[in-house]
Symmetry: C2
Subunit: 304 residues, 2 copies
C-alpha cells in the first residue's frame, strides 16, 4: 500500500515486507504495534502487555537468526485511567522480557491519546544476524518443522474458560530464541519465519515467498495435553494465532541433527510435512484426501 | 519511567533519552509518534500527515548530524472512515518527504484501531552520522544559534485565522538537513538539537544537558514578516512548537564561518544569545531586566 523508492540501496540486503529487514552489518530490524482492543484486552495485565511487546518482536528477530540488541519504544496513552500505575506495571513486564531476551532499551517516545482512545504500544527492535534466515529460500523436497505446541495462546484468547496453560502462553509468549540462533548458525535450515498469525496464515506466506507448495499432515501438528479436551483443537492449532513459535524448513535427511539441536536447547521440534513443486499449502492426512485449507483468523486489521 | 538494564552495552555510544540514540557504526535511530487529535487534526490533510511523519524524524536525525537512511513505519487505523483513500493520500505525502530527504521505507506494520479510535502513525528512522552532534556538549562562552524563523508552525496550529505561510509551515516542516550535515562535518558546532517543542521547552533541555545557563535576547529571535501583525509574536516564537529548525551552539569567534556556511546552504542562521556558567535558561533584553522564562506549551501528553 505504501510506495517505495524505485532503486534498492546497496546497504539494504533484504527488504522483508511485513517482517524483518536486513541491513548491512547484519542488523535486522522490525516494528510491531499492539493496540488495546485489537491485540490485547482484559485477559492481559499491564505487565503482560509489557512482556509481550518485547517477546513478539524477539520472535521476529529469532526467526531471522538475529540476536536481539536494542529497542526503541513508542507508547501512547489516554489520560484515563491514570497513566502512572499502568506504566509502572507495564515497565515491570517490559524489563522482565528485556532481561530474559537480552534487549536494551535505548530510547523512545511517550505521548498522549485523546480521552476514550486505546493504548498504543509500538516497539522497534534490532538484532544482529551473522547468518540471516529468510522465508523465501525453501526448496521442493524440504521438510517442514514447527517448534513447541500450536494453539495454546489462541485457546487463551478465544475460549470462554481457557486452561491455565493457555492463558499463561497468551500472556507470556516464549519464542525459542536460543534454538533459533543455533539453527541459523548450523546452516541446517533452508528457510524460517515466526508463527504469529497462526499456521493457516503463515505457512502459505512461506510457501508463496519460496515458490513451493507445502503439504501438511494435521495429525502431526504438536498438541498440548491442555488442549486435548477442547471441541476443535485442530482449528486452534491452525488458526489460533500468537504462537510465537518457529516455522522452518530443512533439507531431507537432516532430521537427526535437528532433533539433537532441539534437544540441546530444550525445545520441542516437530516435522509436520514437506514441500513440493507448486504454490500455497495443502492439508492432508496420511493416505487421505486433501482437506480445505482453513481461513486465517488474523488479518492486518486484527482478528476476524 | 521505563527501567533500563544497568550496564550500558559497548555498542551503544550515546543513549539520548527522548531524542536519537547513537550506535556503533555511527547509526543514529529515533522513533516518533503522531496521534490524531493530539499531534494532528483538521488542519492537516492525510498527505500532510504523511509528509510530516517523515520530516519530524528527519529533523531529529539532522540535529544529530545524521544523513537519513531507512524508515520502518507502524500505522494503525480505525475502520471508519474507509481506510484506503486516507492511506493513498498519506502515502503520497510520505513518498514526497522520503524523496526530498533521502529516506528509504524498508518495512512496517499496519494494524487496526477499534471503531471511534484515533489514527496512529509511528515512524522509526535511522541515519548515519560520521561526526554526531549532541545536546550535552555545549560550553560556557558559546554562542547560541537557531536556523530559520520561529513560531510560524505554532501560529498555523493555534491562530484562528493563520497566515498562509504559517499553515504551510505547519503542514510541511522543512528541517535544514543539508546545513545540519555540513555543520556536523565542519566541527564548528559544540552542541545541537532540533526545535520541536518550542524554544521555551527545548533550550532548557540543551542547557541542563550541558550544565550551562543560556541567556537569550528576545529581540534577536528571528521573526517571519507573516507574524509581524500577530498580537503576541514572542509567545509563538518561544512556545508555538513544531518549528523543526536547528538549535546549536558554537565557540565565540566562529560567527563569520557559520554565516558563510548558512549562506552556502540557503539557510537563515541567527545568533540569539550566549551560554554562561549556571543552569537553565534566562530571557533578557540587552541592557534590561530578566523576563520570566515562559511555560512550555508542549509536554509529553500533547499541547497544554
Amino acid at each position: 500500500m505504501l510506495e517505495r523508492r524505485a532503486a534498492r540501496p546497496s546497504w539494504l540486503h533484504h527488504d522483508a515486507g511485513d517482517d524483518c529487514a536486513v541491513i548491512e552489518g547484519g542488523e535486522v530490524v522490525t516494528v510491531d504495534t499492539l493496540v488495546e482492543g485489537v491485540h490485547f484486552g482484559a485477559r492481559l495485565s499491564a505487565a503482560d502487555v509489557g512482556f509481550k511487546a518485547v517477546a513478539a518482536s524477539v520472535s521476529d528477530l529469532a526467526s531471522s537468526g538475529a540476536r536481539p540488541r536494542w529497542m526503541l519504544l513508542a507508547l501512547s496513552l489516554p489520560p484515563d485511567p491514570p497513566v502512572l500505575p499502568w506504566v509502572r506495571a507495564f515497565a515491570r513486564g517490559l524489563a522482565e522480557a528485556c532481561t530474559q531476551f537480552g534487549v536494551y532499551l535505548i530510547g523512545g517516545d511517550v505521548t498522549g491519546v485523546p480521552a476514550g482512545g486505546p493504548r498504543f504500544v509500538c516497539p522497534t527492535l534490532a538484532g544482529i544476524a551473522t547468518s540471516p534466515m529468510l522465508r523465501s529460500t525453501a526448496r521442493p523436497g524440504d521438510v517442514v518443522w514447527v517448534t513447541g505446541q500450536l494453539g495454546l495462546a489462541g485457546a487463551g484468547w478465544s475460549l470462554d474458560e481457557p486452561p491455565p496453560e493457555a492463558l499463561a502462553r497468551l500472556r507470556r509468549p516464549q519464542p525459542p530464541l536460543s534454538f533459533a540462533l543455533a539453527l541459523a548458525a548450523s546452516g541446517l535450515a533452508t528457510a524460517a519465519m515466526d508463527l504469529s498469525d497462526g499456521l493457516a496464515a503463515d505457512l502459505p506466506r512461506l510457501a508463496w515467498a519460496s515458490g513451493v507448495q507445502a503439504v501438511i499432515d494435521p495429525a502431526r501438528l504438536p498438541l498440548s495435553d491442555a488442549l486435548a479436551g477442547c471441541p476443535d483443537p485442530l482449528a486452534l492449532q491452525l488458526s489460533g494465532g500468537e504462537d510465537y513459535e518457529l516455522l522452518f524448513t530443512s533439507p531431507p535427511g537432516a532430521e537427526p541433527e535437528l532433533a539433537q539441536l532441539a534437544l540441546e536447547h530444550g525445545v520441542q521440534a516437530t516435522p509436520i510435512g514437506a514441500l513440493r513443486p507448486g504454490r500455497g499449502a495443502i492439508l492432508i492426512h496420511e493416505g487421505g484426501e486433501p482437506l480445505p485449507w482453513p481461513e486465517p483468523a488474523f488479518d492486518h486489521f486484527g482478528r476476524a
